[in-house]
Point group: C2
């Protein structure tokens, strides 16, 4: 296998059968030693973070597959912190699709003139470009279409999938008394028919979850959802 990309929290290898291998690392995003799923920098290392992220991802991806929602997931080896996935083409140089149930983070930094911290947002979907140099700017469906990143029809499909997938994650968390504030998903196109498919991961590293008003760290979330 060949290393083709080193990400902030994962390395990507290509396999001979056309699939890819994602190696989950113990690095998590944040600033000044504090975890922040919205940050663009790797702020700290947490032992076991890679395995925990993979365990949660496997857990959620299997539930999504059982619900006929498209993911790139093929198989996982938790001990090695490795996941096998289908080949997928990113949209442009990468998008983040955010589903928001409460106004926190970058939403509040942008729209704080019109929203109170923590107010309910009822599964609001927005898209940002993955572009560290430009602080991951938000982008409209029209702009995505005009810039050739994805079509308006693909946007609608991606938005619809985001609402369904995020809703399932929210429900799973609710079973443990945990509230999902927001979640960040990534999509790509897979196969000959360029099917819009959930890629990357679903773990504590890309969501904000709270229990009894207290934020739950990624490793703790994995423990509450999978291990208990």
């Amino acid at each position: 296998m060949e290393l083709i990309y080193q990400g902030k929290t994962k390395d990507v290898y290509s396999l001979k059968d056309g699939n890819y291998l994602l190696k989950f690392k113990d690095d998590v995003t944040g600033e000044d030693g504090v975890f922040d799923p919205g940050a663009n920098t790797v702020g700290l290392q947490m032992e076991g973070a890679g395995q925990a992220g993979l365990r949660l991802t496997k857990y959620f991806f299997e539930i999504l597959q059982a619900n006929d929602l498209p993911t790139h997931y093929v198989d996982a080896d938790i001990d090695k912190a490795e996941m096998i996935v289908q080949s997928a083409k990113m949209f442009g140089k990468g998008l983040e699709v955010i589903c928001r149930y409460r106004a926190v983070g970058s939403f509040l930094r942008r729209y704080g003139m019109y929203a109170e911290e923590g107010q309910s947002l009822d599964g609001f979907v927005e898209v940002t470009l993955k572009d560290d140099d430009r602080q991951d700017p938000p982008i409209s469906a029209d702009a995505l279409d005009m810039l050739g990143i994805l079509s308006l029809a693909e946007y609608e499909e991606m938005k619809d999938l985001t609402i369904k997938i995020s809703g399932i994650v929210k429900e799973e968390l609710a079973k443990k008394g945990i509230e999902l504030f927001d979640i960040k998903l990534e999509f790509g196109r897979t196969g000959k028919d360029k099917k819009i498919t959930l890629i990357d991961e679903i773990s504590g590293g890309n969501m904000r979850a709270y229990k009894d008003g207290v934020y739950i760290e990624p490793l703790e979330l994995e423990r509450l959802i999978v291990s208990e």
Copy 2:
């Protein structure tokens, strides 16, 4: 008449008949003494800027009215730099609707990963919030709707008006050999039926216009379009 608002480039007075009076000032937006229509600060004063802005606004608003496009324009007194307008309700605390024909300014600062400076954008419309503290963040139709600023149907109507109005301004400029790169419009709701109506002004202060590859300053634009 009563002063009800002091803006960066205009003061607003309420009149007894329900209309408003806009007093155009000689202040123009920019930074460090350089004019910039996208800036949030008043960078300099130019003698005659208020009258020139009003003259261009009157010129364009009368053309728009002749084309059955809704504006708040009632009358103007160029000598006094005063314009009488209908009462209009802003969307939220104010939006800017930008129509772009070439990639420059904030568009390029946000989407420079996908666009070359000066590339054609074919009348692309985007909306930003008027919020100096948050650097006028871009906002999607879905977010405007969710935050109660305007409905999706109103958004579509505003976008359609923006394309028509900007197209007319672009044509008028083209008659003088001037190319419109982008223009920033404002809309509000007027009358009992809350009709979506162009408000504020159309002048050199809210567009970027070029002739033979050279940027045209607001006062020069007024001279080229109206006085010659």
